[in-house]
């Protein structure tokens, strides 16, 4: 997404985007990545910026082999986000695809 080549998204596999927004602090990436790893969801790409102390991160995650459904994953990530003091949004990749690609 940012500096390295983004892995091509494959037809037939299921992806989500995870968007994180909030005050920067240590452990945000580790905390959320932990939730994903536990669910056997594979982070394909991760990109973040910090502007004026506000942390913004976007991840593309392959959930094809995940043990949780997207809505369950969403609520786990949401819970972890609350612990970390950040807001987490989880969308199916098609939402970004439809809105950003004619």
């Amino acid at each position: 997404m940012s500096t390295r080549d983004q892995q091509e998204l494959q037809e037939g596999r299921e992806y989500i985007v995870v968007f994180v927004h909030g005050r920067d602090r240590p452990g945000i990436v580790a905390g959320l990545a932990g939730v994903l790893a536990e669910a056997n969801a594979n982070i394909l790409d991760i990109s973040q910026t910090v502007m004026r102390g506000i942390f913004t991160m976007a991840m593309i995650v392959d959930v094809t082999d995940a043990r949780l459904r997207i809505e369950e994953l969403r609520s786990r990530l949401d819970e972890k986000g609350r612990e970390l003091g950040v807001e987490v949004s989880v969308y199916h990749i098609d939402v970004v695809k439809y809105l950003q690609r004619p």
């Binding site: 983004q6 976007a58 459904r69 989880v90 969308y91």
Partner: protein
């Protein structure tokens, strides 16, 4: 496929922080199969249809919304106008019995919708552009009680069209029935569930006009988008001195994105439920939430709602959103304009309270906006002829210009112009408006109809 963090951020911001959502998924269902001379059969059949299709569409919407992460505000079912379903009862047992059957059916539909998780049912309706059939008379006679006694059932009367003309008798009947319902209920709420239309389209997902029309397949998914706050936020991000062309370009861009969300949800819900995709209505629809307002969009463009220049701004806004949106969807449908409901848009309600927006300024806006005079509180003791005149004015504009328009008035018992009417929830609140002075009684009382305009002749 590559996405930048900026692209992902933009999508997340629109959905999470700018209340971009899908306002409604409306399943259009052919209810003409329920037509029967036997009242019991009609009622059972309609209840069965709504239970079965309601559960199916609700399940699909919930699954898709959870998977995509996109909120869907309401789920609706649009039925074949009940006049067609009730016609055989009138033939067998008369209009009165058919009206009773309609009322019974409405009560059952109300309960069935609630059990199935369907928020509203559309189609308690009749077409009367040139005249009214027996089924239509039953619908009109049942409507006041249906509006008062049910929660989720909504109706309309199409009283004019570019093809058939304007039926003043139907306009008069509509004005009287909405006044009667409000008086009966002691509240303006029944008015929120009833629309008088011109050229009503069969793929409108917005109630009260949603219905299943002739020429539609059974089981079609129509979607309505929302999002004035998304549009306003984008405009506010532009330099204050950006020229109109720049605004226009940005509006097209945002119109595309908002419409794409509607298209995505329409496709996925249709796939998950086994129904087919109908159309996406590109109308920008406000909610009473502060900021989720058409008035706010105009203000972000630099003009107060109702001030000179606001019709030009509205025209530009709608045209740009349509152009951007048309590319984003398979089939645009419904109104595809901008809703300007007074009570449901806190910004418009405030413009009314400040004297900026008067009823006839709103009527003028219908010349560019394709939705009509919507959610307008009027005094409950207004003479029916005055309301009929007001309705006829809007319908005539639609008829002559070939536009889809509606009139939804909220007669408020015991209230006078300037008093506030609180409707609650998504219906919002607004000041009672003055329909205007002058005499029209003789014109309205003549009855009959205004023949269709030149456009009809040119169409051959």
């Amino acid at each position: 496929m590559h996405f930048s963090i900026a692209e992902i951020t933009e999508v997340a911001e629109m959905i999470r922080y700018r209340s971009l959502d899908v306002r409604s998924v409306t399943l259009s269902v052919d209810a003409s199969i329920c037509a029967s001379p036997w009242p019991g059969e009609v009622v059972d059949c309609l209840r069965g249809l709504v239970e079965e299709h309601g559960r199916r569409i609700r399940r699909a919407v919930d699954t898709v919304a959870a998977k995509l992460g996109v909120p869907v505000t309401t789920v609706r079912i649009a039925l074949t106008p009940l006049e067609a379903v009730l016609a055989p009862v009138t033939a067998a047992s008369g209009v009165e019995r058919a009206a009773e059957t309609g009322l019974e059916a409405a009560a059952e539909l109300d309960r069935a919708a609630s059990r199935a998780g369907v928020d509203y049912i559309g189609g308690f309706a009749a077409f009367a552009d040139r005249g009214l059939g027996a089924g239509g008379r039953a619908v009109l006679s049942a409507l006041p009680r249906v509006l008062v006694e049910t929660e989720r059932v909504m109706g309309f009367v199409n009283a004019a069209s570019t093809w058939l003309g304007l039926n003043m008798d139907a306009v008069a009947a509509s004005a009287r029935l909405v006044l009667e319902a409000a008086r009966e209920a002691g509240s303006p709420l029944p008015g929120a569930k009833f629309l008088v239309t011109v050229n009503v389209a069969p793929d409108i997902p917005f109630l009260p006009a949603a219905h299943h029309g002739l020429g539609e397949a059974d089981g079609v998914v129509n979607v309505a988008i929302s999002g004035p706050s998304v549009v306003a936020a984008v405009l506010r991000g532009l330099p204050r001195d950006a020229p109109l062309e720049r605004l226009y370009d940005e509006l097209k861009r945002i119109g595309f994105k908002v419409s794409r969300l509607g298209q995505l949800v329409a496709e996925r819900v249709a796939a998950a439920s086994g129904y087919s995709v109908g159309s996406v209505d590109l109308s920008l629809a406000p909610t009473p939430e502060p900021g989720d307002s058409i008035a706010d969009v105009l203000e972000a463009m630099g003009v107060e709602f109702g001030a000179p220049g606001s019709i030009a701004a509205l025209a530009m806004l709608i045209d740009a959103l349509r152009k951007g949106g048309a590319m984003g969807v398979c089939c645009a449908g419904g109104y595809s304009g901008a809703m300007i409901p007074v009570s449901e848009d806190s910004g418009i309600a405030s413009a009314v309270a400040r004297g900026l927006a008067t009823i006839y300024k709103l009527v003028a806006m219908t010349g560019v906006c394709s939705t009509g005079l919507d959610m307008v509180p009027v005094p409950g003791d207004t003479d029916w002829r005055r309301l009929a005149g007001l309705i006829a004015d809007v319908l005539a504009l639609g008829m002559v210009q070939g536009k889809v328009l509606g009139v939804r008035l909220l007669p408020a018992p015991g209230k006078k112009p300037g008093d506030t009417v609180e409707l609650g929830g998504l219906l919002g609140e607004a000041p009672v408006m003055d329909p205007g002075p002058g005499s029209m009684e003789e014109f309205v009382e003549r009855g009959g109809r205004i023949p269709p305009p030149m456009r009809r002749l040119l169409a051959g």
